[in-house]
Structure formats: structure tokens, C-alpha cells
Amino acid sequence: MNEFLDGFVVGLALLLSVGYALLSLGPRSLRRRLLEALSWAAARVPAVLGLRAAAQRLSIAAAGKNQGACGGCDDCGTSAADATKSPAKDSPAAEVRVPVAKIGRRARGA
């Protein structure tokens, strides 16, 4: 095989791999910046190459959530639910006091 072509293909594979690893494992801000930069670059190439749609998709992806390296079961949700706080704290319904005498009343009546 042509030595130049050999090196080029391997180099490209390595570059793509590093990029993907950074996108999926790196912090969200880095991912957003990378995708924005790619979108910016794709939007500026000559229209004949037909990359406008790709630029738009990259821009949408930059604004969206990270699928993550877990494989993307989409269970991760979109926002944090702070584990150090409980919604029940502020709610008067947090503690429901049922008089013992009332428990089972319906069952007896049924």
C-alpha cells in the first residue's frame, strides 16, 4: 500500500477517534464548544459542498443534551434533581397523619 495513503488513513482514524472520545467523555461545555466550532466551520465552506444542512444539525446538537458514553438509553433526563433537597420538606402533605381507628374502616364496611 502507498505509504502516504497508509499514514493518512490511520491518522484520520486516530483524529476521529480522539474527537469522538472527547465529545462523549469530555465535559459538556467542551462538547458544546467543539460542535459550535464544527458548525461554524461547516457553515462557511462553499455551498457547492452541501454542508449547510450538516452545519444546522451540528448547531442543534450543540444545544441538545449529551448522549454520553453509557450507550444512550435516554434515561438520564434533562435536568438535575438535587439529591440534597426533598420536595416534601416544604409540603404540608409531607406527613399524613391517619387516626389509627380509621385504618381498615372501609374494609370492615365492605
Partner: protein, 626 residues
């Protein structure tokens, strides 16, 4: 999704009690494949999809976590309340509510329907699971119910396409309002309000029927055995034990076929390509690495087959009930069981599922121990080492020794998690005991569609990991292991002179006390991204470590020759405890809204892994040398 939100289409929210079939309905309406199971608390986050109605109108549909009321007690109920009240940042308030009610449990479900009516949004009641209700002899007068509630009522069967036609007709008639609904004011229900609703529910039930109290049902009869204080835990242990036996014994044939396929492809590729960098990348980097992981697909499918069957039958909440006493002994509530069980698939949905836990301390403790449950990503590592070092011996009763060892590793993870939970709960002030309140759904046969879709989803997830992050990391590792080239006249394998070789040599100093060689030390680094990456990394590292023509040899015999038994056992202990998953730590950061907890988690898990491996290595060395 973003393109959809630009279209002015009505936003419809599916709301209802937990486990009333909202997600099954959502999947049928939108063609989605969100997870459904026969227990409460599967959905903990809002999900969005779209439906094209027969008249060509597109409507957006929101699937919300189950809630018992609009006064939230848990973080998942908070999501539902916030969306319905228009308090959720960046989210418009729904235009229309589909109040999904379980026709077999109308007494409980109607209370939420009455609360939803107070929101003043247009609404339809979907009387779901009407097929099961009919089989149980429960007859509900839907027309009368509609009259009493003052909203349309349609009967649905959320698991069948034909069962939702009436609902689709109603949704077809909805329209996006001219003005988006504004946030609603909501004050928690007072005592008299609750009593009024209760009386109203009783009155409506008296008119429409559907309040039949069954005698002893089949589920009750099964529960009298399955929930027996002595028989119950024995049955649970036997079920889990058989699952792990099946993982090894059933997977043998397909695993061998995949191994042969990968080896044959490797031989063909090696012969077809001339000696070049690209050949090295394809054969030693990608095929040796990715092929080593791919082999474990059958075991993952078998494990998930059993998990999905147990989920769909309704057995899992019973297991939570049985383990409540064990959980209570270490300070956790039985409610932590479902998140911990989800963590056997993957710690990330498990950590998300802790949103169903009311007490913040319990929730934090559950989050902190969830990664100790043996996730499916550990399975390839365990299976590789067990396959190499544990003989395929059959014990009494036809039990396989390899399956017994795998079961023991799962138990070790659970015991470790319970010990850590005990320490966490002991060291946090104000920890108290919280009684378990859990709905036990009726048993039913697993739905074949759910089962097939669930398994297909797991295959997709596994293959997507193999084809993306594992592939990418293998290419990077191959490059780090191949460059720089060895100096002229070098005698050892080229990898020893590479960047990865030098890194491995440094790391080996740290890991030598626990018996790890430089090849294992290298594999642990990319394995930080995800556990099964380590198997691929070992494949690549050993392929590049080989001198001569044995490069294409399978990984299992290679490590069986290169490692001692104490080293293998030490690595198993490492993988039981080590936090080898960046995604999990990121999820903990997001769920706790702080870096503190993921840092504490990583520190304690690495500490535990090192200590555990050291003890195992020293003990095994002493025993085998004696």
C-alpha cells in the same frame, strides 16, 4: 425534538398514578420505545414524543412520572407537578391533559383526577387497562363517569394499538390555544379538601361501579408463597442463582460461534492486507480489542432476558418487600431496592431511579452505593477472567462452578454496598428509619412485545458502545501502544518502548502490591471510561505484546498463561469495587448538583478496590504457595 417544538402543535401531557400504564400508552401513541415494567417508578423524567393524528395534525405528547397527587413528596413527583403548573424552566405548560387511570384501581386513581380538574386545563380521562378490569369482572359505566367528572372518558388498553383508537380521536380534536397557558397558582390541598375529594370519590364510585373488592385473587395466592417470611427469601435466592447459572451455561454455544467468527475474520484480514500501519490498526487494534468485547453479547442478552421477565411479571416489587428488612438493617428503606436493582443493568438509570426515594439522606446513600451493584459492563470482565481461570466443572445438582463464582461476585458487590450504606447512614446525623410504602401490582405474564423490544434495546446499546466509544478508545490505545517505534536492535515487543508501555511501567509500580502486571495497568486507564473497555484494551495490549505469529490468538488462553491465579482474583476484586465509569460519576454530579459527592464516591471506591485487591492477592498468594 427541537424542530418539533418550532411547530405550533398542541402539547398533551399524560398524567396518572404510578404503574397505571402511561408509558405503555405513550409508546403506542408515539411509536417510542421507552422502558415499561410492572412496578411503580419506572419513569422518573419527562419524555416527549409526537403523534400524527388521522386528520394529519401533529400533536406533541409528554409522558410524565407517576404521581399520587400534585403535592409532591419525591423528586419524580416534583417533575410532574412542575410541568403541569408551568413552573419548569424552559418548558411551556401543557395545553391538554390525558388523565390516565387504572380501571382496576379506580378508588385510588380518581383522587388525582379530581386534583387535575382543579388545574382548569382541558382534559380527557383515559380509563386504561380495561381488558384486565373486564377479566376481573369489574364493570365501569364510562358514560356515567364522564357525566360525573364533567370531562370526556375513553376506555383504553395501553398495550394494544387497537386499544387507543378512541383516545386518538379525542386528541385529533385538540388545538393549540391562541395564547400559551400561563403558570398556574396551586396551594397544597388542606385537610378538608382531601376529605372532600375522598367523599367525592366514594360518591362517584357508588354511581359508576368499579369499586368491587375482590376476595382472594390469584396474585394473593401466589404472594402467600412468594412473600412468605421463610420461603420468600429462599425463592428469591434460588431465582437469582439460576439466572447466573443460565448466563454461563446457555451462552456457551453462541459465544464460541462469535469467537470463531472473529478469529476467522482476523485470519482473513491478516492474510489479505500487506504489512502496513493500517493492517496493524485493523488487526491488532480494532479486531483484537473490539472482538474481545463482542464475544460477551450472548451473556448480556441472557442476563437481560431474565431481568425483563422479572420486571414484567410484577415480581420485582415483591423482592423489594422481601429485602426491606435487610435494607432496614443497614439504614436503607426497601424503596432503595428498585434503584439498586436497576443498577444491575447500569448504574446510571439506577441513580436516576433514586428520585422515587422521599428522604434525601436515603437517596444520597442509595446514590453512593448504586455503582457497587454489578452492572452489565462488568460482565465481560468477570466472564473473561472466570473463563480463563475457573475450570468448567459441574458440581452437585448439575450446577456449574463458573456460574457459582459469578453469583459470588454479584453477592460480593451487594455485601460491599450494604456495608458502605451502613457506614454512610451511621456517619450522617439525623438518620431515622422510614417505613416502606409500596404498591404491589397484580402478577401477569410478560408481554412478548415488551420483552423483545427490551432485549433489542439492550443489544442496540451494547453494539452502539462497541461501535463508538470502545472502537474509538481502541484506536487511541493502539496508537499509544505502537508509537514511538522500538529502537533498532530492540529485543522486546514494540509496545514496551511505546508511550503506553512507559505509562504501564510507571503504573505497574503502583499496582504491583496488588499483583497487576504492566499490561493490566495499561488496560485500567482506558477502562476508566467504561468497564468493558478494559477487556478490549487487554485484547489490544496482548496482541501488541506478542512476538512472532501468535498475535491472532484468543485473549482467554493468553491471560490464562500470563497471569497467576492470585492476580486474576485480585483483578476480579478490583472490578467489584473500582469506579471504572466516568458516565456514572458525571450522573452523580448532576443528580447531587455538586462535585463533592462524585469525588467522595471515586475516592472511597478506589480505596475499597485497592484494599480489597490487596487482601485477595495476599491471601491467594499465601494459599497457593503453601
Amino acid at each position: 425534538m427541537d424542530a418539533l417544538s418550532a411547530i405550533p402543535s398542541p402539547l398533551i401531557a399524560l398524567v396518572g398514578n404510578p404503574n397505571c400504564g402511561k408509558t405503555a400508552l405513550f409508546n403506542i401513541l408515539t411509536g417510542s420505545r421507552q422502558k415499561v415494567a410492572n412496578y411503580a417508578g419506572v419513569t422518573v423524567e419527562r419524555k416527549e414524543g409526537s403523534l400524527l393524528t388521522p386528520s394529519g395534525k401533529r400533536v406533541r405528547i409528554l409522558d410524565l412520572p407517576g404521581a399520587y397527587s400534585l403535592d409532591p413528596l419525591t423528586p419524580d413527583e416534583q417533575v410532574t407537578a412542575d410541568v403541569l403548573l408551568g413552573r419548569r424552566a424552559g418548558e411551556t405548560r401543557p395545553d391538554f391533559i390525558v388523565s390516565v387511570t387504572d380501571a382496576t384501581n379506580l378508588r385510588q386513581n380518581l383522587r388525582l383526577v379530581l386534583s387535575l380538574k382543579r388545574l382548569g386545563l382541558p382534559m380527557v380521562v383515559a380509563l386504561n387497562m380495561t381488558d384486565i378490569a373486564r377479566r376481573k369482572g369489574i364493570v365501569i359505566d364510562a358514560q356515567r363517569l364522564s357525566l360525573e367528572l364533567g370531562v370526556p372518558v375513553v376506555e383504553t388498553v395501553g398495550v394494544k394499538t387497537k386499544g387507543v383508537q378512541a383516545l386518538i380521536k379525542v386528541l385529533d380534536g385538540t388545538a393549540a390555544p391562541a395564547h400559551a397557558p400561563t403558570p398556574a397558582s396551586w396551594s397544597p390541598l388542606s385537610g378538608p379538601d382531601i376529605e372532600h375529594d375522598q367523599a367525592e370519590v366514594r360518591r362517584i364510585l357508588g354511581l359508576v361501579g368499579g369499586d368491587r373488592i375482590d376476595g382472594v385473587t390469584l396474585s394473593d395466592r401466589v404472594d402467600s408463597v412468594v412473600l412468605h417470611p421463610v420461603l420468600g427469601p429462599v425463592i428469591l435466592a434460588v431465582i437469582l442463582f439460576l439466572v447466573f447459572q443460565a448466563v454461563f451455561s446457555w451462552a456457551q454455544w453462541p459465544m464460541n460461534e462469535i469467537k470463531l467468527g472473529v478469529a476467522a475474520f482476523g485470519d482473513w484480514l491478516g492474510a489479505a492486507l500487506p504489512a502496513s500501519l493500517l493492517k496493524g490498526l485493523l488487526v491488532d487494534g480494532i479486531l483484537a480489542g473490539v472482538g474481545s468485547v463482542l464475544v460477551f453479547l450472548p451473556q448480556i442478552i441472557i442476563l437481560f432476558f431474565f431481568i425483563l421477565v422479572l420486571e414484567d411479571t410484577g415480581y420485582l416489587p415483591r423482592a423489594a418487600f422481601l429485602l426491606d428488612r435487610v435494607m432496614g438493617a443497614v439504614g436503607l428503606s426497601g424503596r432503595a431496592f428498585i434503584p439498586l436493582l436497576s443498577s444491575f443493568a447500569c448504574a446510571i438509570p439506577g441513580i436516576m431511579a433514586t428520585r422515587t426515594i422521599q428522604n434525601p439522606r436515603d437517596r444520597l446513600a442509595t446514590i453512593m452505593i448504586a455503582p457497587l451493584m454489578t452492572c452489565s459492563a462488568r460482565l465481560p470482565v468477570y466472564a473473561l477472567i472466570i473463563g480463563a481461570f475457573i475450570p468448567q466443572r459441574t458440581l452437585w445438582g448439575g450446577l456449574q462452578l463458573q456460574g457459582v463464582v459469578l453469583f459470588a461476585l454479584y453477592i460480593l458487590g451487594v455485601v460491599g454496598a450494604m456495608a458502605v450504606a451502613f457506614v454512610i447512614k451511621r456517619s450522617t446525623a439525623g438518620s431515622g428509619f422510614h417505613a416502606l410504602m409500596l404498591e404491589l401490582p397484580a402478577y401477569h405474564w410478560p408481554n412478548l412485545r415488551n420483552l423483545v423490544l427490551g432485549l433489542w434495546q439492550r443489544v442496540e446499546i451494547f453494539m452502539s458502545r462497541v461501535g463508538t466509544i470502545i472502537l474509538a478508545l481502541m484506536v487511541i490505545l493502539w496508537a499509544l501502544s505502537s508509537f514511538p517505534a522500538p529502537p533498532p536492535g530492540a529485543a522486546g515487543p514494540p509496545i514496551q518502548y511505546s508511550i503506553a508501555g512507559h505509562l504501564g511501567a510507571w503504573l505497574a509500580v503502583v499496582f504491583a502490591p496488588i499483583g497487576f502486571n504492566w499490561q493490566i495497568s495499561i488496560a485500567l486507564v482506558p477502562g476508566l471510561a467504561a468497564r468493558e473497555v478494559a477487556v478490549g484494551a487487554l485484547g489490544t495490549v496482548y496482541a501488541l505484546s506478542a512476538t512472532g505469529n501468535d498475535v491472532s490468538g484468543a485473549l482467554t488462553p493468553l491471560i490464562a498463561q500470563s497471569w497467576s491465579l492470585p492476580t486474576a482474583l485480585s483483578l476480579l476484586a478490583w472490578y467489584v469495587f473500582a469506579p471504572q465509569c466516568l458516565s456514572t460519576l458525571a450522573t452523580v454530579k448532576r443528580e447531587t448538583n455538586s462535585w463533592r459527592y462524585p469525588i467522595i464516591m471515586a475516592a472511597y471506591m478506589f480505596g475499597l478496590a485497592y484494599a480489597g485487591s490487596w487482601i485477595v492477592f495476599r491471601a491467594a498468594t499465601a494459599l497457593t504457595s503453601g
